[in-house]
Amino acid sequence: MQYNYIHLDKIQGEDKISLTRTLKDSEDLALFEQEAIQIIIDYKWETYAKRFFLIKLFTYAVFLVTFFVDLETLHGNASEEADVHPRIKDLPFIIRKVICELIQLYFLMYEIVQFRKEKKEYFKDFWNYFELLGIFLYQWASILDITNRIPATFAGFCLYSA
């Protein structure tokens, strides 16, 4: 048996987040092949980060499924003979929109908290732009949908291009 001791208190010091910040900003891949570094990352990952991101993934999956079902009903009842099928706004429609909006709101709050903590650093990670874009585009589509502009805009576009 061999026992390895990693004195985390001496490594991380007073500002406990500084350890991960330093590791995150490191460009040297060989650093992550060090066993001690791997053990520290494994510990942090298993203790709190993994569960958190799994929950976030699950939340996003719920959003995607709801959004997908919502999009499937976009063209109304296709068996009826009409050029433009109005959006059927029944109870399931409202439930779907509320679920999607709540999840998007949670994501927006998450981004805001991240921005407030990171300040300038937030805009250096380009994935953050994608996350903001995703929230913004969903809201846009959702507003167009709720205000009934999608069939009108779509028909208008078809007329315009024809």
Binding site: Q2, Y3, L23, K44, Y48, V113
Partner: protein, 171 residues
């Protein structure tokens, strides 16, 4: 065993692939692409198949019902009893077109496409050499993202930030 290993390796890729195809199929559905060729299949299933076909290299460039043997539209009033007069090309040309088509599929899809896959596979194996290091680096970035949401009570949590880590290893 090798088969199981290969299936295990591609399962996440396939999942991603299905998500991509579904996304594009849904895009096509929104713009209401014609799916008459698929008969009574629901539109989304037909479009899923269509997108899968194009992802796999679908070469049906002409009308999906007729292939290359295009039937000429009969003029009203013209009576045609001969089979050959209904088609645009002679039988020989049609056979030859299909032959060229098969040769083309063989060279373009089977050989050229596999070259591309081989190149991708090589680059993947290069990345794979440092996969563990990349994996740990990515996880550190995510851990940091979680940690900036921590309050003071989380930083004082002995379980989250212990003073010492003791790792036991079997020799």
């Amino acid at each position: 065993m090798m088969m199981i290993q290969v299936v295990n390796d591609v399962v996440y890729f396939m999942l991603l692939f299905v998500i991509f195809i579904l996304t594009f199929a849904e895009c096509y559905h929104i713009v209401q692409v014609n799916t008459d060729a698929y008969g009574r299949l629901p539109a989304i299933a037909a479009l899923f198949l269509g997108t899968l076909r194009s992802a796999m290299g679908d070469f049906s460039l002409i009308d999906p019902y007729q292939g290359f043997d295009i039937q000429r539209k009969q003029k009203p009033g013209v009576h045609c009893t001969d089979d050959a007069c209904k088609y645009q090309h002679s039988r020989l040309i049609v056979f030859f077109t299909f032959f060229i088509y098969v040769v083309c599929v063989f060279f373009l899809f089977m050989i050229f496409m596999n070259f591309i896959i081989a190149v991708i596979g090589e680059s993947y194996s290069k990345v794979n050499q440092y996969a563990t290091a990349h994996d740990y680096r990515q996880r550190v970035i995510m851990i940091y993202e979680k940690e900036i949401h921590f309050g003071q009570e989380d930083f004082d949590n002995e379980e989250y930030f212990p003073n010492i880590l003791i790792v036991r290893k079997k020799k």
